[in-house]
Symmetry: C4
Subunit: 230 residues, 4 copies
């Protein structure tokens, strides 16, 4: 069932490992087939070395397992909440990559300090509010998803395909699983650049809005002129 | 004698090398067979490239060599003291890995600044007190073990499988040699994350106790629901 | 047409990738044949894995495409402006390499803090002024080139083969494409050294002029005595 | 002539490259045959990829070339001055490795902040005084050697096989070329640990003298008990 989706999700998980953004089983990538309403996700606590398309778990958007022997990633309720609310995304990636996690641990948004950031993220990468005791106690992973959705109340998730969960780490997304991994890889670079730039010049804020728009929009949207596909 | 234990200890030492946590002979892993009361450990100052299961040294818990031609690791008395006092552990690992060593050199415990830490260590990773001149002068390695045990007087070593020896570096442990190496690898990641997080936000303390418990306990103990083995 | 130049430019782009200064398509190298007045440059947004000499685009110095099916790098107008003004250079390289980009983001020149820097760059690596809204709005990439040229009004670009574009990242150049990549690789090392040196000793300024001259001139110019080619 | 020495020096230079302490030709290793009074050293500006034992240059202690077609390393007069004054050393290594160079650029000795340092270097790694204009102008490389020797007036170079040349980078030595490279590799680790430890705890000074002696002397000298060779 949905063989291509399982291959795509498996390959995106392996790319995550190859990119050195995760060690052990510290990350997961999912994908969705919107027509079927089926999400494919990595099983929980499985080493990347053992991962095959057949091991990928299929669930419906309410979290009922449709196919698969293993328990799905413990972060599955977070993924499902994002698929339910960000209706045009096709893949989600979660990591504990070093530098993005540092900003998440500091509970600080990553300011846009240069054009590398502006090429991918249209503004500062936001951080969720800290969760309440009650939210942590029951349905923690679902509530993590809700906190992310709340953070995007006034933000365009298509122009900002990343969030930092406070005290925890990043989630990223994209039109498909591979693109969600690319967003995590870029976020990690941007997070390291921002950290070191702040160390060099603590008083620095953001680049001018005009420059942010120039770089973001030359790569994305109707008037883009970067690459070969516009 | 105890061929499987020697293979396991040799393999764990090689994994330590592969993980890039050690250069030259700066680390050692041991394991114990509790039924026999026999400890297997790396020989002193031997390059990992030359290490084979046959080169592993066997000792009893008082440090008498039971099998092996070479001198055991100079840190052996520290390992034995831990096996005598932490009666359920099955493997011990010692490294000078960069970031864990930095916290040890600073004589500061690693605060729990995020869920990556909370997933493995149930609270701040403790640091031993500095040793006295007398303790350094005679039986230094044994006294290192005693200082670690003293540090855990009011701590549960099963929930905190790591310690920083002041001015020196980390020791970690687990149910077997491989798991003690895993704890060292995770500790190194957590130590680097904590260092950089403190640089970004010096006033940061620890994550809320509720979040610490949630993450630690979803992976460990009776109500764990992470992975496939619960 | 100009097969050797296309091979040289392709190879220099691949060397940039191998050096780990770029991920994805975050960089570009060009070269020029001064006799023909033809510039060869990487196509826009193409992965390095797919790059072959046949894919390299040829343009005249006014930007008219002479050969090639694909759109040239979006930074092409910057390259052309540099070739028009720095008449003896033969290759240009642009990256978003981590540490050079950090200095660019901080809008700070890289001071010459040691002989590693002095061996390649005869003074602080300059940073362009920030661009005006008007300059960003229209002909942004051309104006980037003009800002670089303006920065070198009183500087010798042969003795300073690198610049930091404010808020953006580095451009480097040299007598040929390969040497422009070498300048980027050295710049990245020097930028990391300078950043960490400033962290260790914030009040540090530059090495003495005499030492700078000694190191720069023993490798470059008429009285050089480093290497085999003088 | 002296074929084994040339092989040893060539191999030590290649080990330097493999260790990632140098890029391009930024480093050199030499060795000496004390019976013959002949020094073997890398040629100047030659890439490590092209280096073979036959390319190694032989000189007497006054710098006269005894064998070899190429120009010797421009740092040769520094090496010779050290061989003339540190009469028991057998190999010398010079690099611009990242973290050791940072301390050299900051003109600060590396304090002994932990036992990793104490295992190899018996006290803080010293830094030379800055050189005068006159010393830089003529016989610069010879004067670099003299400044190192002056720094060791009251230091035991056998117990401190490393120095930082102010504004420049490290030199290390040992009983043979391979051991001089090992000292550079260890120095680089120790320099990085010290830098990050100071960032975490700026007020930190040195570990207690007793602990320094314990660690240094358990690996070196008559009462050593680390390794298999004592």
């Amino acid at each position: 069932m949905l063989k291509n989706l399982k291959i795509e999700v498996c390959e995106a998980n392996l790319e995550l490992k190859r990119s050195k953004l995760v060690i052990y089983s510290w990350g997961n990538v999912s994908g969705i087939n919107r027509n079927e309403g089926i999400v494919a996700i990595k099983p929980s606590g499985i080493s990347y070395d053992e991962l095959t398309p057949d091991g990928i778990i299929l669930l419906d958007l309410e979290g009922n397992i449709v196919e698969g022997q293993l328990r799905p990633s413990s972060d599955t309720p977070t993924h499902l909440e994002l698929y339910r609310n960000f209706e045009d995304i096709g893949g989600i990636c979660h990591t504990h990559s070093m530098n993005a996690t540092i900003w998440a641990q500091a509970c600080q948004p990553i300011p846009c300090l240069g054009t590398t950031h502006a090429d991918y993220f249209y503004g500062p990468v936001p951080v969720t509010r800290s969760m309440t005791k009650h939210e942590i106690e029951a349905d923690y992973e679902l509530n993590t998803g809700k906190a992310i959705v709340e953070t995007f109340k006034d933000l365009n998730h298509a122009q900002m395909p990343a969030v930092l969960v406070a005290n925890h780490g990043p989630f990223t997304w994209g039109p498909n699983p591979a693109k969600s991994v690319e967003a995590s890889i870029v976020l990690e670079q941007v997070a390291e650049m921002a950290l070191k730039t702040i160390i060099l010049k603590p008083e620095l804020t953001a680049i001018p809005q005009k420059l942010l728009s120039k770089h973001y929009l030359r790569k994305h949207g109707n008037n883009a002129y970067y690459g070969q596909n516009y």
